[in-house]
Amino acid sequence: MSIFDIKRIKPTVADLKSDLASHGRLVSSLAKLPFRHGPLFMLDKYRRYPWLRTLLAANTLLEMSVRTRTGAYREASGFGVSHVAAGIGELVDNLFAKPETTVIHEDLVPPEILYGMGLNPWMAELLGIIAPLIRSEFAEPYIDAAESEGTPPDICSLPKCTMGIALKGEMPKPKAILTSNMPCDGGMSSYSVLERELKVPTFRLDIPYNFYGERAVRFFAGELKRAIAWLEEHTPGRMDWDRMRQVCEIRNKAQEYQMEVWDLVAKKPAPMAGEALYLGHMMYSVAMPGRERGVEYWREMLVRTKKIAAAGGALPDERFRCALWNPPTLIYPELFVWAEQKYGVALLMDMISYNRHPYIDTKSPDTMLQGLARVVMEGPMARHTRGPSENFFSDLFALCERFSMDMIWMAGHIGCKNTMALNGMFREKCRERGIPLLIINYDLSDTRVVSPAEIRKQAEAFMETVMKARPL
């Protein structure tokens, strides 16, 4: 494999068969694009949007997931990555096919409302999240572009990457932007740059700091109503409450399956781990919830998880169960593959995936908006970075208990000031509870700050000195 000492596992005949299915799923989803739009159209897009080249290399991520594992876990990981890649293909396809109805939305503003209005959502941060998983250095020229326009180096590299894409003229122009005050001040402020660069009308949702209780739900459901009215004024979208109900029901269904997977993952040894869990959530609960694809993903994943559970666990030798706090290490997704192989570390849950997941009551437009308000306010990261520190710690310690975690790896992204400012409390609270904590010093999207090799060294030192683990 390309990264350090990750071992390539010799495939069995069954492995080869499942690899073929995964690769087939990936290739067919990407091959659809020139067929649908025509080769010249795609060639033009390929030239105008260099990020397409990185997305088209998604097979490297797939290789990482399948070639390092064997059996049903390999099959499930391959299914997960290829399904998510195909989902991205669908979003790109729509982005090019429907510019007149495309609305750019911020990553923590779930797009259900846009689907309900017949609009086409495109998550502005999607490229900054997904592309570095495929090619670690992806974000760097965009970060440089944002910095050369005067954005300070200490701002989170994810919004900087997103701003850079817009500043370099590589963000397709939407009809409108729907954003919010989440997940951090840097992310919130980056939309003033996007608005200026793209020159499109922008609506900003305001999520209260204290979002518990009916008062906050009422306020935020009101914000959503105002957003719908604004979108009806500025885009061709019209709210169709029946369609909206359908979107919410699909979302609920996918959620149900995901929760069942979680229940199984809580068992020892865990029947599923790694990318299949966090990528699936990122894609089908954050980037494109409310689509049949999400139901299909989690239903299939549940079947596969059950199958693995019946046979034992996902990892050949699960020795440590790990919670990852903060988003996954985008520039180094191989970290957990390496940790699986070297020390038997199973990554079971992370901050993006773990939130309250309230189901949406689809009885009436009001209940749907209230349900969506809860989804947004209690959504991934938002509750941890925007809200009081109690959320950050109570969620983490609750999940540690629920999934019987042996340790916490905190992806200490230097640009995430919200979480950096909790590290002191974090260490003390973990010490009180006797939970080993590794704070990885790195940058989410920039390999020049801390290289993957250095990240691995930090993890290695922690495993050997604190966890007293010996390599498998």
């Binding site: 939309y191 009101g222 000031k417």
Partner: protein, 378 residues
């Protein structure tokens, strides 16, 4: 350019300590001091009979080693400096503190102080990021909750009547400060930007009733003074984030650039806008707070913010703008660049400075300002 004489050392002494002698005096007389930050906490709500508000500052902080352990060293140094002094016990005489959820850094300051140095009374206001009817209604409820909590904890009257009196008295203080600010628009102002900032900070760091009279007499004295500063090279508008250290402005002015207006979190614009004395005091305070769009936390107001600076340039007849932002401040960090572009598009010379809370690298700052003045042909 020399700083003129004429500002009594009384005011200088008030800004040199985190909790000054006036705070002690008021506490000795039985009043309780409430530390607050930032500008989104409406001070009239804290200035009722029996309690008074003191804006949290960290004068004299020389390093933040303890605060860095908790807040890390990538958080704005204003919050780290307040935390450092809190951990040293500098605010332990306060009866409580009130924060605003204005930015990530302030929220985490609140979290950490509540964890490490909890006072008997701790509150954080949930301040919306935009204006409008719904946001004002939310903010009003927030203030109502704080008012009730203050009344219950300190046994003070925070009812509508008491607040109306407080607003009136607050407006009296603002009128004096506005008068002093107006003197800076003269061709030869009788006070410098450094001195004005000192008076502003003295006013926010002291019990209101103990500074109104001294400020009023000073105003009368300066109003009639014919002396003024006439040896400056350029008139400058200071814009940007928190700048509660008059020493920072002193360094700028040492190069010959006279600061004639300050559109900062701690400056005269928009802090001196009077609070309406009509209507429900809580509603008035709520909309007054949200109408303060000077901080980029107010996410829909980029255009209005730029306009506010352009108007301030006109009002103060400034030759250029010094845009100072606190290092690690995300909102200013991202917004400063487009703001600079807007100002330059209007033909206004702008110097962008990133700074730490505690004064450092004086020489470097002087050189930057000197070069800026030269670039303006001054």
């Amino acid at each position: 350019m020399k700083q003129p004489a004429g500002i009594p050392t009384f005011f200088k002494n008030l800004v040199e300590e985190p909790l000054n002698a006036m705070v002690e005096k008021a506490q000795d007389s039985g009043q309780r001091a409430i530390g607050y930050t930032c500008s989104y906490v409406p001070r009239p709500l804290l200035d009722v009979e029996g309690i008074f508000g003191v804006r949290l500052r960290a004068p004299g902080v020389s390093g933040t080693p303890m605060a860095d352990t908790y807040l890390s060293n990538v958080i704005c140094s204003l919050t780290r400096s307040i935390m450092e002094l809190a951990l040293e016990g500098a605010y332990s005489n306060l009866g409580g503190w009130v924060f605003a959820s204005s930015c990530d850094h302030m929220r985490r300051l609140y979290d950490n102080l509540d964890y490490l140095e909890p006072l008997d009374f701790v509150h954080i206001l949930d301040v919306p990021h935009k204006r409008g009817e719904a946001a004002t209604a939310w903010m009003k409820e927030e203030l109502e909750m704080l008012a009730e909590k203050l009344a219950e904890h300190f046994g003070v009257d925070t009812g509508r009547g008491a607040l109306a009196i407080s607003i009136k008295e607050h407006n009296r203080l603002l009128a004096i400060l506005r008068g002093l600010d107006r003197l800076r628009r003269r061709d030869a102002p009788p006070l410098s930007g450094t001195q004005y900032q000192m008076l502003m900070m003295a006013a926010t760091s002291s019990p209101r009733n103990l500074v109104i009279e001294p400020l009023e007499s000073l105003y009368k004295e300066l109003e009639n003074s014919s002396d003024g500063i006439d040896d400056y090279r350029a008139r400058l508008l200071l814009a940007g984030s928190n700048c509660d250290d008059p020493g920072y402005i002193r360094v700028i002015e040492s190069t010959g650039g006279l600061v004639v207006g300050d559109r900062t979190c701690t400056g005269s614009i928009p802090a001196l806008k009077p609070v309406s004395e009509e209507g429900d005091p809580l509603e008035v305070l709520a909309s007054h707070s949200l109408d303060n769009i000077s901080c980029p936390r107010m996410m829909e107001e980029f255009g209005a913010r730029a306009q506010e600076i352009l108007e301030a340039v006109k009002l103060t007849r400034a030759d250029g703008v010094v845009l100072e932002t606190m290092k690690f401040c995300d909102t200013w960090g991202v917004e400063a660049s487009p703001l600079v572009s807007v100002l330059r598009e209007q033909g206004i010379p702008v110097l962008r400075l990133e700074r730490e809370y505690a004064m450092s690298s004086e020489g470097q700052l002087q050189t930057r300002v000197q070069a800026f003045l030269e670039s303006m042909g001054r």
